[in-house]
Amino acid sequence: MAAEFELLEHTSDMGILARGGSRNETLIAASKGLASILVNPAGFKPLEERFFKATGSDEAAQIVNWLNEILFFFDTEGMVFVEFDIESWNTDEVIGRARGERFDIDRHEFRTAVKAATYHQFESHPTPQGWEIRVFVDV
């Protein structure tokens, strides 16, 4: 199945429900979902690459920390990523790369500031079609 995401409503925050054929594909879809909360991703090109490493004691922590990497790069460098590769994912960490470009207020459309990805109502599990991840972010 093609990986996809939808945004979920929550009184104060926002959620991402991502689905894909595999866990890797689904995390990539969730990452794109997060980017789409921050900005309109349409105007961004994969011009610069950053290395991602998200550690954690379990899968939930690794996914939450991976998404928090996206927020860290946005806050510190203004980087918005539109392409992601996951190179390895073991019991301790997810390693990958992301490509995108720096936010430019004159060319890009900002949407909503996100403080962090949370464990609140977090889910990550296989489905008959592949994989599903649900994560809420604090906005």
Binding site: L7, E9, H10, T11, S12, D13, M14, G56, S57, A60, A61, V64, N65, N68, L71, F72, D75, T76, G78, F103, I105, F110, R111, T112, A113, K115, A116, T118, Y119, H120, Q121, F122, F136, D138, V139
Partner: protein
């Protein structure tokens, strides 16, 4: 959920509601607010808070309560300092998000003719919204001083006076803050953001005193009808967000070592006296000090903007600055005995008797100035609510309206708004929030804080 009505403003979630609750929870609301509160999971979250190890008294939900992550927003929980836990989720990602109210020597009559210039100047001088970085040059050593000294750093650099500290909760500095408990990543996120408003529900509002309910108290704060005031609502920006992110992760792992269980992982916690708990408290204090400095720097920029428009003689003293996302060690009466407790206030403001309490309404609606009352010490560990509280999700708020329509509608009511993004306006439109009058009515009638004055906005800067 079956709630037991105590009186018109108090409702009980008994500890028998679900296994694991260590105490009852009390919800402060009238019937109409309760109807709105029931639409999300916030009452369930209030019951979850009652499960925190070491909780004393009751878990408390303010009338502006709405669903958060782990803790509800508008939640208060005090835990025993000796045997209790600290939960970063009970403070939130925006550590020491809070409000500062500045008075002025101006009246509505002075400001109205030049309101558009003023709002424009404020928008230029106070960076707001994403991608807008600090105008203050801060070295690594400065940042460490800010984290440990708070706004005193700003005052030493000519941005404010000692009187500003006198009128800031904790004088803007929580003791025990340790810059080295704050990660390099958190510092990297926060450093370019000092003196910036940020986005979301943060704002800068030019208001006037519309009505005074208690003239004696109002005159104590030099408030009179028609006086112009400035309300600043923001927090610790990316620095605080990263501190919370770092420590939720660390405490999530520590919980296994201490054999602790919480019903929502976002409530991750550690014993107050554990190395992990102590380290979080030191980092949280540092982030809180950063937030107070942030509001001090914004106040400095805003004072400059006012002076530019209305002349050098324009005075803007701080009336008060209070946090509404914080955990603080305080002494309270618990079961007839004075006890040291760690009070988590997540979307709740300290409301000690006589202390100013600010309850901002939604964009374009009135805000209220109250003072804490004795009831807050008896019932809520000296706390009251912090705002109107959302009722609509951000996506729902955006439906059926545009930023232009909102701006036009507000302008027709004499309110000038400037925002960097459309979302800043649509997500925060007045209908997205509960009725501020009802929320204030509950805290007033429940005896937690007393109404002093109503403030109405005329100029709004949104991120």
């Amino acid at each position: 959920m079956q709630l037991e009505k105590i009186d018109d403003y108090r409702w009980l979630i008994p500890r028998t509601y679900k296994p694991g609750m260590r105490t009852d929870a009390i919800v402060y609301a009238n019937e109409r607010l309760l109807e709105a509160i029931r639409k999300d999971q916030s009452l369930e979250q209030a019951a979850n808070v009652a499960m925190l190890p070491g909780i004393v008294g009751r878990a408390l939900a303010m009338p502006d309560i709405h669903q958060g992550y782990g803790f509800p927003i508008g939640g208060v929980a005090a835990v025993d300092e000796q045997i209790g836990v600290v939960s970063p989720g009970g403070v939130g990602f925006d550590i020491n998000c809070g409000v500062r109210l500045l008075s002025s020597s101006l009246t509505l009559k002075d400001v109205k003719p030049r309101l558009r210039d003023l709002v424009h100047q404020l928008f230029r001088d106070v960076p707001s919204g994403t991608g807008q970085t600090s105008r203050f040059s801060v070295s690594d050593s400065d940042l460490n001083q800010i984290l440990e000294k708070g706004p005193r750093w700003a005052i030493e650099h000519g941005m404010g006076s000692e009187a500003d500290l006198d009128n800031t909760e904790e004088r803007g500095c929580i003791a025990g803050a340790d810059a080295y408990a704050v990660s390099a990543r958190a510092k990297l996120r926060g450093k370019p953001q000092l003196g910036t408003l940020g986005s979301g529900n943060h704002f800068l509002e030019v208001q006037y005193v519309d009505e005074i309910f208690d003239t004696t108290t109002a005159s104590r704060f030099n408030l009179s009808e028609g006086k112009i005031v400035l309300l600043i609502h923001t927090g610790s920006r990316g620095l605080g967000h990263q501190v919370c992110t770092d420590y939720v992760s660390q405490l999530d792992e520590a919980m296994r070592r201490y054999d602790l269980y919480v019903p929502d992982r976002q409530l991750a916690c550690a014993p107050i006296h554990s190395p992990e708990g102590q380290r979080y408290l030191k980092a949280m204090a540092a982030a809180a000090n950063f937030a107070w400095t942030n509001r001090q720097c914004i106040a400095h920029s805003a004072r400059g903007a006012f002076k530019r428009i209305f002349g050098e003689g324009t005075a803007m003293p701080v009336i008060y600055d209070v946090a509404h996302n914080i955990a603080k060690l305080e002494t309270h009466n618990v079961d007839g005995k004075q006890k040291r407790v760690l009070v988590h206030r997540k979307g709740a403001t300290r409301a000690f008797p006589g202390q100013p309490v600010f309850i901002p309404g939604s964009m374009g609606t009135a805000s209220y100035f109250l003072v804490g009352r004795e009831g807050s010490m008896r019932e809520t560990f000296g706390s009251a609510c912090h705002g109107a509280g959302r009722v609509l999700s951000r996506a729902a708020a955006k439906k059926g309206t545009t930023a232009k329509e909102i701006q036009k509608e507000l302008e027709s009511r004499g309110i000038i708004v400037e925002s960097l993004t459309r979302e800043g306006l649509t997500e925060e439109r007045p209908e997205a929030y509960k009725d501020i009058e009802a929320v204030v009515d509950v805290v007033h009638n429940a005896g937690l804080a007393a109404r002093v004055a109503r403030l109405k906005p005329i100029g709004v800067i949104k991120g």
